[in-house]
């Protein structure tokens, strides 16, 4: 019997929806004839005993998930997310660079280093990218450290804060929309699709408004309801990163689709896969087929 390790942390399990999704994942794996067990950070030395590893904790190249992915790779164990995907998707400079290299459609995107932060340079950005601008600290996740700025003073307020965390930051053209498509891709194929409806009080899929966290609405969408060019763009964007599991966020204004970001370790606990009952089965099969 093959052994699937599902790498989790305390935070993953503190959320009831995530816990349910993980239990569902374990049940699916066991239904397929595998033995599935949860591995916590303190269990990291058990990874070499697994036949495949599925990481379900917030990934970052500086945290324990990167160690888990590398441990699996050192021992030739198939892993989602692989270290390369964690490295690329965890850093928006790296991620957008890969997308630009493959000519994947993006909002106009510029990288600024600490030494580029001058009034002349920023004025030029408003001239070329328009107003407002979106400023991102590269390690942002769940829309944290993503800000919309309306003028030069606002830009510097945000940029000075972000540049303390990263020597380069991302500046993007603002693309307005009321929802994002999320295209889930596994091994270069569509895995699921859903719509994230952006709360009216913000421009992000998750934000803190007056001290309260507001979340986007999630609506799983059958493939037939998703514009084909959106699916194609999602797959192309995922392919620019790697061959693993990705959630690609896409805005589709007037048929002009562009990628907002590619996420490794995409959320699967909020109903994203409601129209796709075989999502976990496909993930488990993908891991064991590797």
């Amino acid at each position: 019997m093959s052994r699937l390790g599902v790498f989790v942390d305390r935070k993953t399990l503190s959320n009831a929806e995530q816990l349910n999704a993980l239990i569902h994942c374990r049940d699916v794996a066991e239904g397929l004839g595998h033995n599935a067990e949860f591995l916590f950070p303190v269990d990291i030395n058990k990874i070499p005993k697994m036949d495949a590893l599925f990481i379900r904790a917030r990934t970052d190249p500086m945290n324990i998930t990167y160690v888990a992915a590398r441990m699996a790779e050192f021992h030739g164990i198939p892993v989602i997310d692989d270290a390369n995907s964690i490295q690329i998707c965890g850093d928006k400079i790296n991620m957008y660079s890969h997308l630009l290299k493959k000519n994947v459609a993006l909002p106009k995107t510029v990288f600024l280093s600490k030494s580029d932060l001058s009034v002349e340079r920023v004025t030029g950005l408003f001239d070329t990218l328009g107003t407002p601008l979106i400023v991102k600290e590269p390690s942002t996740s769940f829309s944290q450290r993503v800000e919309k700025v309306m003028d030069i003073a606002g830009f510097f307020r945000v940029a000075r804060r972000f540049i303390k965390m990263s020597d380069w930051i991302v500046v993007q053209q603002f693309v307005e929309s009321t929802y994002d498509w999320r295209v889930g891709v596994l091994g270069g194929q569509l895995l699921y699709a859903c719509k994230y409806t952006i709360p009216s009080v913000t421009f992000k899929i998750q934000a803190s408004v007056n001290g309260h966290i507001v979340y986007c609405g999630v609506e799983s969408m059958p493939e037939s309801a998703v514009p084909p060019h959106v699916i194609r763009l999602g797959i192309d964007a995922a392919d620019a990163i790697g061959n693993g599991l990705y959630g690609v966020d896409i805005k589709n204004n007037n048929g002009d689709a562009c990628v907002i970001e590619v996420n490794d370790n995409p959320s699967l606990e909020s109903g994203e896969d409601a129209c796709y009952p075989r999502v976990y089965e496909r993930i488990v099969n993908h891991l064991f087929a590797a």
Partner: protein, 207 residues
Amino acid sequence: MARDSLAIISRDHAYHVIAEDYSYKSEAYYTILARELAGDDIRPSSRAVLDAFVVPVCLERAKHAGIPVVGWGISQAYVPLPAILYGLNYFATASDYFVVQDNTQAKEVIRHITNKGKYPFCYQKLEDTATITTCTAVFGQTTGSCAAIAGYAEELYKIFSIPLVNMVFVRTGDEYALSSLTPTRYTRLSEGERAFLSAYRDHQEFL
């Protein structure tokens, strides 16, 4: 070289980035990344610098290359004492390590490096007689009192290709075991190390 400055030199058909700090999202890291994406043979690679400064990954790679390493574990709270502790999260600083001798000290350090228990951390159990030794390697070469670990410095350079790095070893009796790699500052280089770095920058030949 001036503080925070970096230099790129071409040698042996590859580009080499010399910097004090190669850490994730630093200027050096992004310089490397941009060159990689442009298809240049650039050293160290962005993967190598990530691996080098995430302690358990560094030790696994070193171990596979035959370098003796300190045994390590991951914990959320408990550590066997005495031990060296390393943060393992987005906010951890690669150059920080903490030697703890008793529970009170350990509790305080763990609270600090885990951001009050939010993250796991890496620990390495020490023998009571163990001491910590640090040495700087410049393109895999050491000078002066670091002769005992010169061979390991060369091996580590073969693995990570980091031109300027501080090596933390645990010495027990006559045995050395790698504990971690950390960044270093130009100002902390000895005269000999500085001369070696200058010579490398000036493309002098080493025989």
